[in-house]
Amino acid sequence: MEHFEPKIVCFACNWCTSAGADLAGTSRMEYQPNGIMIRVMCSSRIDPQHILWAFKKGADGVFIGGCHPDDCHYIDGNYNTLRRIKLLKKLLTDFGIEPERLRLEWVSAAEGKKFVMVMDDFIEQIRNMGPLRLSQEASA
């Protein structure tokens, strides 16, 4: 089997998860480089359509990071994110995508370590799952 490097799109909110990822950097922690971050102001900016789009365009996994419950910079945006992601996970199977390819985590600005752990864990998990192969019909 040819070598597989998972392609991962990461969405992170500006106030917690992106800051947490910055902290991982400032603390010189190390993790695998497969994820590329798209910073948005709040995790609730992420539309399920963005996630489907990423899968359609070839992402093997999509990661969403937001503030912990009750810590969202915009009061309760992350609760909306939670609801949307839960719902989308149910639908993913219909599209032939394993729901585990989508991961939502709460990572605070102080949790550089947690960011590194979930990043490595997620990348490893996707590596084990192998590339996402969408059916012709689903990627149409």
């Binding site: 392609k7 799109v9 800051a19 990822a21 910055d22 902290l23 991982a24 950097g25 400032t26 010189r28 922690m29 190390e30 993790y31 480089p33 590329i36 971050m37 798209i38 910073r39 948005v40 102001m41 709040c42 609730s44 900016r45 992420i46 539309d47 399920p48 359509q49 963005h50 489907l52 789009w53 990423a54 359609k56 365009k57 070839g58 992402a59 910079h73 915009y74 009061i75 309760d76 945006g77 909306n80 949307r84 639908l91 219909d94 599209f95 590194v116 019909e137 689903a138 149409a140």
Partner: protein, 672 residues
């Protein structure tokens, strides 16, 4: 919807997005920073610049050792001018560090600052990876994704808001008074609203204050008088907030002015009216230990200096019902025809200083509170100690007006008890109980004071010394332990407990028991929080914007918190927070205009179907249905730019400026 339909729908939506909108192609410059070896050590910066220079839209690409240095910034400004760039990407450290640096530099070269974006290739790339090849590839992707974003960035101007240079302070206790005076002394008009007939709050009820034992009324009344005389303060007592609308700089308040049926300008405080009033009701100022008439003045130094007719206890306004007070009022100050009034005020900032109330004695049945007259709370004891109190400063127990010789003080009554009462520590009780015991000993030198405590929290300037003084000089007996049982027998209150330090059972035949009852948010705090749209914590206190870094601000911009409304605190802390809130408020009042980040939501009027799904998604009430246009519009001043409504919009009509769907899709495309 069938699965197939869903899929169709989704690909349909995407089709719309995929058609590239015709836009004039931008001239973009990319600047890659080495950050010494911080980036260049793991990322091949030349390669990043070289690869990017071939990317569509890039007119100029260069790398430099320290982009944020003056020569580095000059490279950017020079390139903007020389190549006529209309967008800039700096691939460097996190935007939280130098976004403003580079936006300012771009601005100085004539670019709109929102045309400058940062690609974070240090914290999120060079510092977290070791393999240079992989890190370089990742840095290229990050940089390209930001280029794709900036290609679609709009030029934006900060949203500017005018400021009404007046403040509203809610609550006339020490915190509200302090905040009002600070703002008024800085030259701005203040409306101070108090729901009771007089300002003064709980502090004016106190006898002496720890740890200096200065008389509370002596230090409070001058401040109250200052408020009433201050040319910049409009005092509205016996008034309540009815409605607050608007936003920072431009709030509108509707204030209900309850009728007091006495004209303060005419009232000479001769007291003739209350002498003839036939009604006797409990006196709130004396914590219900005495009575007052239906027409009354809460206490002699009340501000405003006027009587008030309490309509809820008056037999009726019709002179036929009673009308005795009006008959004897020589200056004709009593006016039964007064009506409630709604006063509308416009203000730029609001300080909420709504204070506290004590946890209800009736909830502390296990201490016999509410059942035995000789079990009282701390504020009642303050009134007994006070020279202006019901006993003129003599300590007499309520049941038979005898001087109590054995007094038991119980700390943490209703506090630090997550199972039955409040989980939190009320913070001031250790100190005021020490003060109570000390003052009791000063009044009754041959009496004995006992204090049951869990532990003593005496953090504060000169606080620990004060507690030691109570123990050493005034022979107050501290007993570490909880009271297990309280019951009445032969006119004494039996207090059973255990001293956990000696393990001995303790039985005291007390003449008086004083409970250091928990502090609660004041009655009506829930309602006020709702009207102001200020969040409350789990205990109902008003929530600060950040527990450490923004302790005097609420999450709503332009609204500030002061005093015990936010958490239990003592007088110096309440005053400090009030001054803090005032200075934060003044920062707004001293600017002519406020500026707001313009990355807000917008609505495509053509596409919006008016489905209103977005309205409840907005935590700030910024989305409003326009009845005329039959679509939803955004109040840009209220919008904080989270983008939650955008993701919820089913038609794509909602977009966030510079975080549009188009931008996100194109970033995804380039990453993959």
């Amino acid at each position: 919807m069938s699965t197939q339909e869903k899929k169709d729908n989704i690909s349909q939506e995407k089709e719309n997005v995929e058609i590239p909108k015709k836009r004039k192609s931008k001239r973009i410059g990319i600047f890659v920073c080495h950050c010494g070896i911080n980036i260049a050590g793991t990322v091949d910066v030349e390669k990043v610049a070289k690869t990017l220079s071939e990317h569509e839209g890039i007119i100029h690409a260069e790398d430099y050792v320290y982009m944020c240095s003056d020569p580095g910034q000059k490279k950017i400004t020079d390139a903007i001018k020389e190549h006529n760039l209309d967008s800039v990407v700096v691939a460097c450290c996190s935007p939280s560090l130098h976004e403003s640096t580079f936006r300012n530099a771009s601005k100085s070269a004539g670019l709109n600052p929102y045309q400058c974006e940062i690609a974070n290739i240090r914290e999120q790339c060079s510092w977290v990876h070791k393999d240079k090849d992989k890190a370089t590839k990742k840095a290229i992707k990050i940089a390209k994704s930001i280029v794709e974003k900036v290609k679609r960035n709009e030029s934006l101007e900060p949203i500017s808001i005018s400021v009404t240079k007046r403040a509203l302070v809610i609550g006339g206790g020490i915190s509200g008074i302090q905040a009002a005076l600070d703002i008024a002394n800085a030259g701005h008009e203040v409306i101070l609203v108090e729901r009771n007939p007089s300002i003064g709050g709980h502090m004016i009820q106190l006898s002496e204050t720890f740890p200096t034992l200065d008389c509370s009324q002596c230090i409070m009344t001058p401040k109250m008088v200052e408020v009433s005389k201050h040319p910049n303060i409009k005092l509205m007592t016996y008034s309540e907030i009815q409605e607050i609308s608007g936003y920072v700089g431009n709030f509108k308040a509707k204030i209900l002015k309850k009728p007091r049926y006495v004209d303060p300008d005419k009232c000479t405080m001769c007291d003739e009216c209350s002498k003839v009033c036939p009604v006797l009701v409990p006196n709130e100022f004396d914590e219900n230990m005495t009575g007052r008439r239906a027409i009354y003045i809460p206490f002699p130094q009340a501000i405003p200096a006027t009587y008030t007719l309490d309509i809820n206890s008056c037999p009726g306004l019709m002179p036929i019902a009673c009308g005795k007070c009006a008959d004897v009022c020589e200056p004709n100050a009593i006016d039964f025809d007064m009506k409630p009034e709604i006063i509308e005020e416009e203000v730029g900032v609001i300080v909420a200083a709504t204070g506290y109330d004590l946890y209800g004695l009736e909830k502390l049945g296990e201490y016999g509170a509410g059942k035995y007259p000789n079990v009282i709370n701390g504020l009642q004891f303050e009134r007994l100690l006070s020279a202006s109190g019901p006993t003129k400063g003599q300590i007499l127990r309520p049941s038979d007006h005898k001087v109590p010789k054995e007094v038991v003080f119980i700390q943490c009554a209703g506090s630090r008890d997550p199972e039955l009462h409040n989980a939190y520590c009320s913070k001031i009780c250790c100190m005021y109980t020490a003060k109570h015991a000390m003052l009791y000993k000063h009044h009754v030198p041959d009496g004995q004071a006992y204090i049951f405590y869990i532990d003593i929290r005496s953090g504060g300037k000169n606080y620990e010394e004060f507690v030691q003084r109570a123990i050493e000089q005034d022979d107050v007996l501290y007993l570490r332990g909880k009271v297990s049982k309280i019951f009445e027998e032969n006119g004494t209150v039996k207090v059973w407990g255990v001293d956990t330090l000696t393990g001995k059972d303790i039985e005291i035949d007390a003449d008086l028991v004083v409970l250091a009852v928990a502090m609660r948010p004041s009655k009506g705090a829930d309602e006020i929080a709702k009207k102001l749209k200020i969040a409350q914590d789990k205990d109902g206190f008003l929530a600060e914007a950040h527990p450490k870094l923004r302790p005097v601000e609420s999450i709503t911009s332009g609204m500030f918190l002061a005093g015990a409304a936010q958490a239990p605190k003592d007088i110096p802390e309440a005053v400090a927070q009030a001054s803090g809130a005032a200075s934060k408020a003044l920062a707004i009042l001293s600017s002519d205009r406020l500026y707001h980040d313009p990355i807000v939501a917008k609505v495509d009027e053509e596409t919006c179907s008016g489905c209103k799904i977005c309205i409840p998604l907005c935590p700030y009430g910024a989305r409003i249905y326009d009845e005329e246009k039959k679509i939803v519009v955004v109040n840009e001043v209220l919008c904080e730019g989270c983008g939650c409504c955008i993701a919820g919009c089913p038609s794509g009509a909602a977009q966030q400026r510079n975080f549009t769907d188009d931008q996100i899709y194109s970033m995804i495309d380039i990453i993959l």
